[in-house]
Symmetry: C2
Subunit: 446 residues, 2 copies
């Protein structure tokens, strides 16, 4: 009988859960500091809520749930598993308009399911970690989103991350200026987006196939790639004079974001990336991506999308957000060994040995004293069949195998003197202290 998880799904054993929870807690805590509030939506949505929202490819990847009861025999589906966190957010904004604040800042950290072909690092159940601010067009929103994201990465111990930023209106203006007709903006950006993969010749060839001349290709290669301008302020002024109104708006937004981020932890990491396009479908303003050198792909990304959230309510509702790549963050932190020892470590701070054959009452009471004082205590569950050292040794081995750093023993001497002997399992050192002092003993040593 197959006892593994279903294809593309994962079981998270205790150490996995602790690592995941650690990162989730850091993210949630930082975003709460910025006034973002938690939202949770059900794993199961009406199929009609999801269908048609993710394109043809997306529709194919939705897990569909069979009708029950009367409809069960038809083989039809009426429900589906959550595919992302954006469509549910749009639904929630439409449904609870009166109950939600005008500026609704929410974070949502929940799993989504996609019937993708599983590969290394790609799963069918994975967490998304979305942070969105709804209802304001102010660039203060973007500055706060990036500032908070930077705080998250700094708190997690990243020092070398880069926040690449660009602007959809700036991209559009550059394309227009270069002579790309509006209806080809999308395909041209897709081609430019892979310039680093296909090279200059590839870009020329593919643009040519779309009927765009070599001159246009060269202009785009010059304008939408290369390292950031040496003098950003001067570059912005130049662009403002040569680009159309869209371009000027884009530049002005970027100017504000750079200025506002200066006093935040995002400032030192923020870099203009003229080639950044980030998909195409729904972004309308600033777009951003968070990267580290040792990971192809990004650790997070997002942007402003002023026309999407109203999809269910039929109004235009401005919004901007960022999605942090929880699974990728975990991979990089794992590879780099970035988890604090306390997170990867053990199920308990100390294990209480059962030395006497028939005194579980004594050991449970002692364990509970420590627990009430905030210590995580494992009580060895099986009382030995006879008193003494031999039994104790087996329990010591058990604690050692589990990586529990301290073991506490109350044997004959200790019971008589109201003391406890504490053994440091790493150093082998033992100390005997009054029972009332025991907590400070091993807390200080750890």
């Amino acid at each position: 009988m197959n006892t593994g998880p279903a294809r593309g799904m994962r079981d998270f054993l205790p150490e996995d859960v602790r690592r995941r929870q650690y990162v989730i807690d850091v993210i949630a805590d930082v975003y709460q500091k910025y006034g973002f509030e938690p939202l949770e939506t059900p794993a199961v949505e009406n199929l009609e809520t999801l269908q048609g929202k993710y394109g043809e490819e997306g529709d194919r990847l939705i897990f569909k749930i069979l009708k029950r009861g009367e409809g069960a025999e038809t083989g039809q589906a009426d429900l589906a598993l959550r595919y992302d966190l954006t469509v549910p957010l749009a639904r929630v904004v439409a449904e609870y308009r009166g109950k939600l604040p005008r500026f609704f800042k929410r974070y949502q950290i929940q799993p989504v399911w996609r019937a993708d072909r599983p590969q290394k690092g790609r799963f069918r159940e994975f967490y998304q970690c979305d942070v969105d601010a709804i209802g304001s067009t102010s660039m203060a929103v973007e500055a706060e989103l990036l500032s908070a994201a930077a705080d998250v990465f700094v708190k997690l111990g990243f020092e070398d991350f880069q926040i690449a930023i660009n602007h959809r209106k700036l991209l559009n203006a550059v394309l227009a200026q270069a002579g790309v007709p509006a209806e080809l903006h999308g395909v041209a950006l897709v081609i430019m987006d892979k310039a680093d993969k296909i090279g200059v010749d590839g870009v020329r060839k593919e643009l040519g196939e779309k009927g765009l001349s070599a001159a246009i290709a060269d202009t785009l290669l010059q304008q939408l790639s290369g390292s950031p301008p040496a003098d950003l302020a001067q570059w912005m002024t130049e662009q403002s004079t040569r680009l159309n109104h869209d371009g000027q708006t884009g530049i002005e937004d970027l100017r504000q974001i750079f200025a506002l981020c200066q006093s935040t932890s995002a400032g030192a990491h923020l870099v203009l990336d003229r080639s950044l396009a980030r998909g195409l479908s729904y972004y309308t303003g600033p777009i951003f991506e968070i990267r580290v050198a040792d990971l192809a792909g990004s650790l997070g990304g997002g942007g402003r999308y002023d026309n999407l959230i109203g999809m269910f309510s039929g109004e235009a509702i401005p919004a901007s957000g960022i999605s942090l790549g929880l699974e990728r963050i975990l991979v990089v932190m794992g590879e780099r060994g970035m988890f604090p020892a306390a997170v990867v470590s053990t199920p308990a701070d100390v294990m209480v040995v059962q030395w006497f054959a028939n005194r579980t009452d004594l050991y449970l009471a002692f364990a509970n004293e420590l627990r009430q004082a905030g210590v995580r205590v494992e009580l060895y569950p099986d009382a030995p069949s006879e008193d003494g050292k031999k039994i104790g040794d087996r329990q010591f081995k058990y604690a050692s195998a589990r990586g529990i750093p301290f073991v506490a023993v109350i044997g004959g001497d200790e019971l008589a003197n109201n003391t406890v002997t504490v053994k440091n399992m790493k150093t082998g050192q033992q100390v005997t202290v009054p029972r009332s002092d025991v907590r400070s003993t091993f807390v200080e040593q750890s």
Copy 2:
């Protein structure tokens, strides 16, 4: 267009999530103190893993997921949504036998899905909160499970809960002694279990229909109901002499649990309930249930089930566990108003007003100072189109509507003097303090 959640499913808006998270955190924290470790399994399991494990009725209530790709047209299912946390635990124990400790103590707090008819308080997606200790037959396990459960309820602010306890072997012995044939133990217990609903006459009638005499009915009514024995120790001794070996084992286990719990917070709440039967299928030893007076049904329950966990590995693996009823705990706490103010409250500790038309940089930097100091700060996102009081009033109203307790203003005087004016939104009191002192000001007031 329907923007509500699917039938029987719920959206959790921020205040809901905060309440749920508060309870989950208390539960997880307490169980961690007892050395229990977190486990998470995927929402989606292979259909064959679940099917046939929950009886005919259970099988009907499993949400089944349509095949994708080649099988999509057949209308067949190959996957299903998690129905409980016990079958996945049994699967995990079989799959990772070599990686898991011999005594595996795990808690698992995740949603499950059942295609039940939705009713008041019954949902199709709800959280289970299971705590199980696997691999030991010691009654220390039961004592720790109950001690931890009692700690949870005490920490949540419950004072009046009762932990009812009984033993399956004791029940079996009483039934045997009364003359109920072994094959009727199950049905007899189901009938006795509803004695308080159907009354003495109902019990006689229903037992009679199963061929059990009025004399048997009267014996069972006397033995399996009524308030707890006045002298528990004496009652236990009496039972031990008159019951069979099973009954003696049950009494001895209960005696140990009562003794071990004495020094724990469970002790004061533990009560023998001779009528407690708790389902029938898989319990083999002590069984327990946690109750409060103002809730029909229980806040949690569990017991020992030594034959279930091995269902996938084919070995007998002893286990005992308790499942806390998260959704019910939330209902009772909500009705009683038991959530601390900090939990139900607001998205932020303070809102920073944007007073000047064009100084978002100033306000963002100030907000970030506070955030770095651990304060949850909402920055009003839209800069006003002109400086001053009128705009400020609108922002004050916004803070008030959102229930944010303090508002911080840096206007002209404050900017000149490097001060901040903080208004307590409840009392209306205002104080102006040096910018470096502002945190202590409103933290002290709150």
